[in-house]
Subunit: 232 residues, 2 copies
DNA sequence: CTTTAGGGCTAGGGTTAA
DNA sequence: TTTAACCCTAGCCCTAAA
């Protein structure tokens, strides 16, 4: 086109690196606007920064860091080079809490045909999860500043309707009511996520059922991104 | 970011189109709440609907100057049929020719007993939502697999019925009933994970994905007998 | 309080120039 | 052919305004 393709200079690259160190990846506009870096990056758009970082990153294989918000402390995820200044970084505890392995065996007894039934159960889990997937506005409570000690319950309307007919007007609300009947939904959401993860693995083995895999993935992604998946 | 973007499925888009045809543009929350569309849009917020409509509307005016990959067999432009809301547009878009209703008991509409009917509706919802999540590969791929003689093509699409007894109120009842059926799943939450692991053994039975419906039905029947299958 | 309209931003795929 | 720079757009977020 009419664009000579402006190659990146070393100064620009360094400014980008420093900007990422300060603001974190994904904050391209902030980096570009930052008076500290703008003198070097004024001729680049935020998109350019993003693209450049992508190009720089392909030549720097690094351990994939956890999904981490910018956070007050800087991070050093997949920084291509240099970036001397790094911080300790408290490493926000990933929800990786190792759930106690199931030691219970009582449940197995009721299954006449373990195999088939189990498979059916997998499907059923997924179906239920899809039915009861709620979006939660949990948002970035990890925000840059003012750490909020009091964690608000982000779960929407857990109406403890008990016995009465659900007053819900929509399927969602009805499902929410259903969720309310199960105690400690959050813990269960974790269990569900694990189950789906496992199901994904299982499905992968059965190469044929890629549709199932698709579903499992989708559900799992939703879990991963903060949506609480409740199954009642 | 921790947000894997959730791409819109064809079913969701169609539901949105139908919703706009029914409620008009700008009534995003109404569309989302409408029991007719909620089964397809439950995972989308009203904001999402608005944004999606914006995206859909922007790719209407003209042929792409760029090389546009035409979807084989795709008929209509990816455009909402009528942008203006005022157009009456009585009959929502017919998306599917064979509107084969579910072959099982879900068709029974006359049952005044909330429980039974609700269960049927639950089943119906399950199927619908599973279909939705499966991102049905557009008919084309349907015939590839050996058809099960005992199995009809149960793929329902968006039901624009309006006249049929179905979703409106009974959906809520169905959800409530579903909640009741799994009320005390409390202790069974671990069973899920265990069952999934168990499923690994049978994963090699590369079953036809179409059998999902059968499995769903099986589970449904089990629930009907009072068995609590799973919950996580 | 909830909801909508609109602008802004990013991620990822795609395209072009070298 | 490969690669860096650039383009396009879906999806999502933020804010003001009703």
């Amino acid at each position: 086109m009419g664009n000579p393709k402006q190659k990146w200079t070393a100064e620009e690259e360094e400014a980008l690196r420093a900007g990422v160190a300060k603001h974190g990846t994904g904050k391209w506009k902030n980096i570009q606007r930052d008076p500290e870096f703008n003198p070097f990056l004024f001729s680049r758009s935020n998109i350019d920064l993003k693209d450049k970082w992508r190009n720089m990153s392909v030549s720097a294989p690094r351990e994939k860091s956890r999904t981490l918000k910018p956070k007050a402390g800087s991070d050093a995820p997949a920084v291509p080079l240099s970036t001397p200044q790094t911080s300790a970084l408290p490493a926000a505890v990933p929800i990786d809490a190792s759930a106690d392995p199931i030691t219970d065996e009582s449940a197995r007894s009721s299954a006449p045909k373990p195999g088939c039934n189990a498979k059916a159960v997998v499907h059923y889990i997924m179906i239920l999860q899809v039915q009861n997937c709620f979006k939660v506005k949990e948002d970035a409570s990890l925000g840059t500043k003012t750490p909020n000690p009091k964690q608000k319950d982000t779960r929407p309307k857990l109406l403890h309707s008990t016995n009465d007919v659900s007053p819900a007007d929509t399927v969602q609300e009805a499902a929410a009511a259903a969720a309310g009947q199960v105690a400690d939904a959050e813990n269960k959401s974790f269990v569900a996520a694990e189950a789906v993860k496992e199901a994904e693995r299982v499905s992968r083995m059965a190469e044929d059922t890629d549709s199932l895999l698709q579903l499992a993935k989708e559900i799992f992604e939703r879990c991963s991104r903060g949506e609480i998946v409740v199954v009642a």
